[in-house]
């Protein structure tokens, strides 16, 4: 019996001796495997505002508009809408956009639809759902991060206030069905539902960037039934964990802490109605000149309905080293390059021979993003209330931060040192612009610091080194080392900067509550327009006033005025001049220490088809395809377990022990 058990255990050990983290049955399926560094905080499209979450919400919800997958510069194409609407000028400078929805597009199957019709598993996407989602964004109780973005829609703020007032006045009001509450608040006058399939958005002033927002999940139609049904009560899911959309995939499994599975949505309009030939639901037939040689215009795919994948699986992977190792083993399909392994993967800017032999592909791009250290301008020491003293302090601190060195130490030299918020590829970026405060100059920095009254870094009030706190959203030791780099640079000025690290979610909370002094953050463009970067410093969007994305709480009247003009201007000399002046203000005021624009090296395995690096956080899963047969073959080849050490260990132990046993037994005779 014991022998049998031992045998069974041994056999099961042998069987378990594989590093494949997925069930063997999934080998033949077209599954795209992706790591997720933190469980998604929310998949509510009105609230979710981070790149990783958008990869999920972006394919679960179908948007009215989309970007062309291959064309650069980015081009809008219609999604659920039949065409990209044009601005219609109204009297008093108002502007209207009319969206016409495709008729007959369905949501994914979901039990929530029983709320509307007891026998229904799904229903049609209608114009009211677009209006409903916009009202949700305006709903103050949701605290949507983009609430201010749509403030130009007529009657937007008034709607918010009415809703809040109604809820305040009568606690029972908040218990009503959510769409009834919105109706009672009178809806948003600027969002007019015209019939079943048309919705018109009226803006009180021109805002050409508005259309870009309709490519993002924020504005995707959401069925009220789902919001009502998934309320977290009585064991039901929360809507933020249970998205219900009309996109190409739908969530079939949501284990917050371990995995999220998206299956192909059979109701997706691209699959159900291939005859529509909706441009956003078929693989494009044209692209940039370079796309065809790179196999992105393979005739096998061109014109075929999307998506190609059976499934997208996300695994929570908190540690990036195991994640990268799994990528190398073939268990993730794409990956950034781990800084630690850069030298092995990349040789003189190209894929190393070893990796190329493994059939890997390297895609490089400079992301439309900017990483920066920001000062909270509301702060009494580093902020604007400290006047000239604060400005000089910021200038001094900016002068010693060496982003090239940072990139060298921590990013294998990847990254373009940033001179202003605008990254390459965005209108207004000028490669020859040099920001005088972003050139390392210790002597000048010390002078400025002394001029600010902190000679040698000493705070005259305490007689000790000036104490500042550097608030960060990364508690890992790995992150700490990075931040320590900046702290060390500032300590050359004699400043005592303390790292106050919390996790990312908590950090966001801190930011939301204006409880920070110096922070480090990055911004990835939502859409390819300078407005999308320069608005990060627009006074009207200050975090402290409107919970806007201006985390530095920078407010400069001249800048704000220039911003408004720049925003509506057409790309051209006049706009460039405005941008230059704004840049000069930032150069002097230093609300930010611009660090770098990321240079993105993404690795793909050979079995992944149709990938194109998108700087914007576009959900790509729709276009990508997998060759599962090639993948299985490669994986098997790469992951032969090395068994001899086990044998050697056993043999070694035996060799050590057996003589002893033999002697012992002999002596016992």
């Amino acid at each position: 019996m014991a022998r049998f058990a031992a045998l069974a255990l041994g056999l099961s050990l042998l069987a378990a001796c594989t590093n494949n983290p997925y069930p063997d049955a999934d080998q033949g399926l077209k599954i795209l495997y992706r790591p997720l560094a933190e469980p998604p905080r929310t998949l509510d499209p009105a609230v979710s505002y981070n790149a990783a979450e958008h990869q999920i919400t972006g394919v679960v919800y179908a948007t009215l508009l989309d970007y062309h997958y291959l064309a650069r510069p980015y081009r809008l194409i219609p999604g659920l809408a039949r065409e990209v609407p044009h601005a219609r000028r109204l009297p008093d400078g108002r502007v209207a956009y009319r969206f016409r929805l495709r008729e007959g597009a369905l949501y994914q199957d979901d039990p929530a639809f029983a709320l509307g019709d007891a026998s229904a598993l799904t229903r049609e996407v209608v114009a009211g759902d677009v209006a409903f989602q916009l009202m949700r964004i305006a709903d103050p109780s949701l605290a949507s991060p983009v609430i201010a973005t749509f403030a130009k829609i007529e009657g937007w703020d008034a709607f918010s206030q009415r809703l809040a007032a109604l809820r305040e006045a009568d606690p029972a009001f908040g218990q009503q069905r959510i769409d009834a509450q919105y109706a009672a608040a009178g809806g948003i006058p600027g969002v007019k539902v015209a019939g079943r399939y048309q919705v018109e958005i009226v803006l009180s002033e021109p805002y050409p960037q508005l259309l870009y927002w309709f490519t993002m999940p924020f504005t995707a139609p959401v069925p009220w039934e789902a919001v009502e049904r998934w309320d977290g009560e009585e064991g039901r899911d929360f809507f933020k964990d249970h998205p219900v959309g009309a996109g190409p995939f739908f969530v079939t499994r949501f284990d917050r802490q371990s995995r999220i599975v998206l299956d192909r949505n059979p109701n997706y309009y691209g699959l159900r109605h291939p005859e529509w030939g909706a441009p956003a639901a078929v693989y494009p037939s044209e692209g940039e000149p370079g796309d065809a040689p790179l196999g992105r215009l393979d005739p096998a795919y061109v014109g075929r309905p999307l998506p190609f994948l059976d499934r997208v699986e996300y695994r929570i992977e908190k540690e990036d080293i195991p994640t990268f190792n799994k990528f190398l083993q073939g268990y993730y399909d794409a990956s950034g390059i781990l800084q630690e392994s850069f030298d092995k993967m990349v040789h003189e800017g190209a894929l190393s021979e070893e990796m190329a032999r493994n059939g890997m592909q390297l895609e490089k791009s400079v992301d439309p993003d900017v990483y920066y250290i920001g000062f909270n301008m509301d702060d009494g020491v580093v902020g604007s209330s400290a006047g000239e003293q604060g400005r000089k302090l910021r200038q001094a601190m900016s002068l010693v931060v060496d982003s090239r060195e940072f990139a060298r130490v921590f990013n294998n030299g990847r990254g373009v040192p940033a001179q202003s918020p605008l990254p390459p590829g965005i209108f207004g970026y000028e490669a020859d612009y040099v920001n005088p405060y972003r050139q390392v100059d210790l002597a000048r920095a010390k002078e400025l610091l002394a001029a600010a009254g902190y000679a040698g870094g000493t705070d005259p009030k305490t007689g000790k080194p000036l104490h500042l706190s550097f608030d960060l959203g990364d508690t890992s030791t790995r992150g700490r080392v990075r931040f320590q780099f900046f702290v060390n640079q500032w300590s050359r000025l004699g400043l005592d900067v303390e790292i106050a690290a919390t996790n990312y979610n908590q950090f966001q909370e801190k930011i939301r509550k204006n409880a920070y002094q110096i922070f480090m953050w990055g911004w990835i463009a939502d859409y390819p327009d300078p407005e999308n970067f320069l608005f990060l410093l627009w006074g009207q969007l200050a975090q402290s006033k409107r919970h806007g994305p201006n985390t530095a709480n920078f407010a400069n009247p001249r800048y704000d005025e220039l911003f408004l003009r720049m925003k509506v201007a057409e790309n051209g000399e006049a706009r460039l001049a405005l941008i230059r002046e704004m840049r000069a203000i930032l150069e002097r005021e230093r609300p930010w220490i611009e660090l770098f624009h990321r240079e993105n090296y993404t690795l793909f395995h050979g079995w992944v088809r149709n990938v194109k690096p998108a700087g914007l956080s576009l959900p790509t899963a729709r276009y990508v395809d997998i060759d599962p047969e090639l993948r299985s073959r490669r994986r098997a080849g790469w992951n032969q377990p090395v068994r001899w050490p086990a044998v050697a260990l056993a043999a070694g132990t035996l060799a050590l022990v057996v003589p002893g046993i033999v002697t012992f037994l002999r002596e016992r005779q």
Partner: protein, 345 residues
């Protein structure tokens, strides 16, 4: 550590040294303890020497003052305002490189730029260019602080509570026993975490939290042994003769507990240091500890070619101390108490 902090640390170290000296005198005076010490030395001379080396390093690293030393242009000005210990002063003030360099290398690990101090970093430098040997030596103080300072907090308290509970019994014992069973019913690490989270992070907090968790074990042993001692004939006889309780405890109970205290102290020590490593991983350990070094270095194993010296230095330092203490602990137990404790371990 704040500017006042180093003064406090100096005072504590002076106190510790005095305590050690006092202890040495006591041991020297008592025949029994002297014999035990000699026996211990006979059994484990190497382990004892190793422990002594760690102790000396920690002591040297605890005596610090501000000032002295100059930094060159572009150097770390802040460092001049911070207290530096005797160990720190073994290294030049501006000894950092830019980033990684291998042990004794003369160029940087990546890029191959020449170092500022070629060939002088015995154990290389870490990602921020700090000398690994220096960082490692600094960790010694933390490790011994965790083990030693904690015990210093715990032993008197455990003796006080344990002896009074065991000796007087009744209500006192009921209360003490209840407190102990409450503390014992919370898994150690959770209790540690809860305490540190409630008190906030920092070296003192970590020591206190560790003290509370290890206090129970000490106290339980002391209480049990006091129970036994109280029932002994000569103690009962002394009590019958009207010797006061305090005197009895002082003369008959405490001296007979000391061997248990010593054994438990040595046996808990390694556990404390190892727990700190775990806390470091959780981000609530003490800055500059070996645990933190190990935690930082775990990424470096993924590098290609791998960077091993940081992890190796911290692990070796930790391993050496724990191993030596474990060996000493076994010997102490065998010498002082051949039986009683083994069953409870």
């Amino acid at each position: 550590m704040s500017v006042e902090g180093h003064v406090l640390a100096n005072a504590v170290i002076a106190l510790l040294l005095a305590a050690c000296a006092g202890l040495a005198v006591v041991i020297h005076r008592s025949e029994l303890w002297r014999a035990a010490a000699v026996e211990l030395w006979r059994r484990r001379p190497i382990a004892l020497l190793v422990v002594a080396v760690y102790l000396v390093i920690a002591a040297l690293d605890s005596i610090s003052w501000v000032g002295g030393g100059e930094v060159g242009e572009g150097g770390d000005v802040l460092a001049m305002h911070q207290p530096r210990s005797l160990i720190d002063r073994l290294f030049p003030l501006d000894f950092d490189e830019k980033s990684y360099s291998a042990p004794l290398a003369s160029v940087e690990f990546y890029g191959g730029d020449p170092l500022d101090h070629p060939g002088r970093h015995l154990l290389g430098t870490d990602i921020l260019g700090r000398d690994v040997l220096h960082v490692m030596l600094d960790g010694t103080r933390i490790a011994l602080l965790v083990g030693g300072f904690t015990s210093l907090l715990v032993i008197p308290l455990a003796l006080l509570v344990g002896v009074s509970a065991g000796y007087f019994g009744k209500r006192i014992d009921d209360v003490a026993f209840f407190v102990m069973s409450v503390l014992m019913s919370i898994p150690d690490l959770l209790l540690l975490i809860a305490l540190i989270m409630a008190m906030g992070r920092g070296p003192l907090q970590v020591c206190i939290a560790m003290g509370v968790t290890s206090w129970v074990g000490f106290c339980r042993i002391v209480r049990g042994e006091t129970f036994k001692l109280r029932e002994l004939d000569y103690v009962e006889a002394a009590r019958a003769l009207g010797v006061s309780d305090l005197k009895l405890i002082w003369r008959h109970i405490l001296p007979n507990l000391m061997h248990l205290v010593v054994i438990t102290f040595v046996l808990t020590f390694s556990g404390l240091v190892l727990s700190e490593a775990i806390l470091s991983y959780l981000g609530i350990g003490i800055d500059g500890s070996w645990g933190q070094m190990i935690d930082q270095a775990r990424d470096e194993l993924a590098r290609d070619p791998i960077i091993w010296w940081n992890l190796a230095a911290a692990s070796a330092a930790l391993f050496g101390l724990i191993l030596a203490v474990n060996f000493v602990g076994d010997a102490v137990r065998d010498v002082l108490d051949p039986r009683t404790l083994r069953e409870r371990q």
